[in-house]
Amino acid sequence: MATPIALRVLEGHARSYRHTWRGTTIGAVLTPVLFLAAMGLGLGQLVDREPTAALGELSYLAWLTPGLLAASAMQAGAADGTFPVLGGTRWVRTYHTAVASPVRPRDLHLGNLLWATIRISVIALVFVVVAAGFGAVPLARGLLAMGPAVLTGVAFCAALSAGVVLMIRDQFLAGLNRFVIVPLFLFSGTFFPVEQLPPVAGTIARVLPLWHGVELTRALALGTAPALAWPVHLGVVVALLVAGILAGSVTFDRRLRP
């Protein structure tokens, strides 16, 4: 039986990763751990002077950890949805090579997504293990919370790659990071509850997908109930993933088979 084409693309990613993993994954793993230490442990000491009702009477470290897990997964997913796609279409142009073989544009989209799933899972796992080491989260709960976090990251990868494949100027990337990724990372209930935000900003945050991923992750990690019903949060994240996959098969085709 023939290997599904997307898996052949995945294999290609794995082979080339031997050369690039030091530059990428170490940073992707280290950054959230540093945040955990600085914010969770450092800032946490200030926040925890008195128990905080808004945090459900938990330590800041315990409250922060799942938010950071989901947001870091989102950031890793965003990275996987942008750099490899631009590399494939503009910088190294390996996607153009690939489509001269039986590989179709949508296989490149899916293959990249599968690779992102593996990479985000590894990053999430290392984070959870380290956080459990800090005592920030019980290991079992942490592993459970990986589910929605990785799902969120993969959803962002799917959606972003579908758009980035059409990008014809690299400077959009800086704008995307500055005006979308970083604000999402900071204000989606990651470092402080969305209730702290002014009304309009709070509404915006609750509409965007990351907050929903954060709520699911936090609920599983802390054993609490999410802000809205489980299916609602899950629905938003899954919708993003599905929309990304469907849009990607159209946009990848348009870009690579003009």
């Binding site: 290609g12 001269a100 073989s101």
Partner: protein, 308 residues
């Protein structure tokens, strides 16, 4: 057996721009076939449709009897493609580039390893197997791409401007390899704007301009049909009245073409013509007699030169 390419009224449009205009074409098995024309003639667009990489806008196209629209992936599995740009992953080694591409065809890994050895020997790069691609020369990279194109043991090779950007020595090495492929019986389809390349490699070719075929046939037949045996290239002194000189030359009864930097005379006996020119009082600064080429065919058919 179906022909390699069967195209009727094949058209490619990008928005309002027509890149390939109602092309009729038949390429039989066993021949090396060329698309000769200047940049922008539509050669690459035609090639990309044949390679099932670009959708057909209008018209009929079958490659190896298959429909590139419906059977694209299957067809691409039988083709070997050397694109215009190398698009190699510079950070990876030669072998890794070949292996990744080989896996796209779902070739078993042992088969790929074996083929990599054979192919690197064929393109004379065995000692570079584990070398990173980045430091290799342009000619070497192009040879890697040829090896890559052969990894799936294709029935036809499609080459888009295979020697553009290479120095003369690298070009000759590449021609030699392509010639050997021909000898092995692999049909080649290539596009080029170099007339020497077309003459060397192609059994038959089409001359393209602005999306249309303007001539078709074997190189020698085309030259015989559209040009004389010899061509005399004459350069005049800058202060000479070129128009008057051209009129003088035209009075000899031969076809004269005035280009921006020289004048071409299409004759059967170059030496005789040069003597006549001197006899009529012209003093050219440089005279070169050569045989007619496909460049002259193109000039005759379109009024323009092939080179940019």
């Amino acid at each position: 057996m179906p022909p390699v390419v069967d195209a009727r009224a094949l058209t490619k449009r990008f928005g309002t721009f027509t890149a390939v205009d109602r092309m009729d074409l038949e390429v039989e098995r066993g021949e090396a076939f060329g698309f000769l024309g200047p940049n922008g003639a539509g050669k690459t667009s035609a090639m990309r449709m044949i390679g099932a990489v670009s959708p057909v806008t209008e018209g009929h196209l079958r490659v190896l009897g298959m429909d590139p629209e419906r059977q694209g992936a299957e067809l691409r599995a039988r083709l070997g493609v050397v694109p215009q740009e190398d698009a190699l992953d510079q950070e990876l080694t030669v072998a890794e580039n070949l292996a990744i591409y080989g896996r796209y065809f779902d070739l078993p890994r042992p088969v790929i390893r074996e083929r990599i050895d054979e192919l690197l020997e064929f393109v004379q790069l065995t000692e570079r197997r584990s070398a990173r691609v980045d430091p290799l020369s342009g000619g070497m990279k192009r040879r890697v791409v040829i090896a890559r194109a052969l990894i799936n043991d294709p029935e036809v090779m499609l080459l888009d401007e295979p020697t553009t950007g290479l120095d003369p020595q690298a070009r000759h090495v590449l021609w030699d390899r392509l010639f050997r492929l021909k000898q092995r019986g692999i049909p080649l389809l290539l596009t080029t704007h170099y007339m020497d390349e077309a003459e060397q490699l192609c059994d038959r070719l089409v001359v393209m301009d602005a999306g249309r075929i303007v001539a078709e046939g074997a190189p020698t037949a085309l030259i015989a049909a559209h040009a004389t045996r010899e061509v005399v290239e004459i350069r005049l002194a800058p202060e000479e009245d070129e128009a008057a000189a051209v009129r003088v030359m035209e009075r000899t009864g031969h076809r004269i073409e005035a280009l921006p930097d020289r004048v071409l005379a299409y004759v059967d006996d170059g030496d005789a013509f040069v003597r006549e020119v001197h006899a009529r009082g012209l003093e050219p600064t440089a005279v070169l007699t050569r045989r007619a080429t496909l460049e002259d065919v193109f000039l005759r058919l379109t009024g323009r030169v092939l080179a940019d």
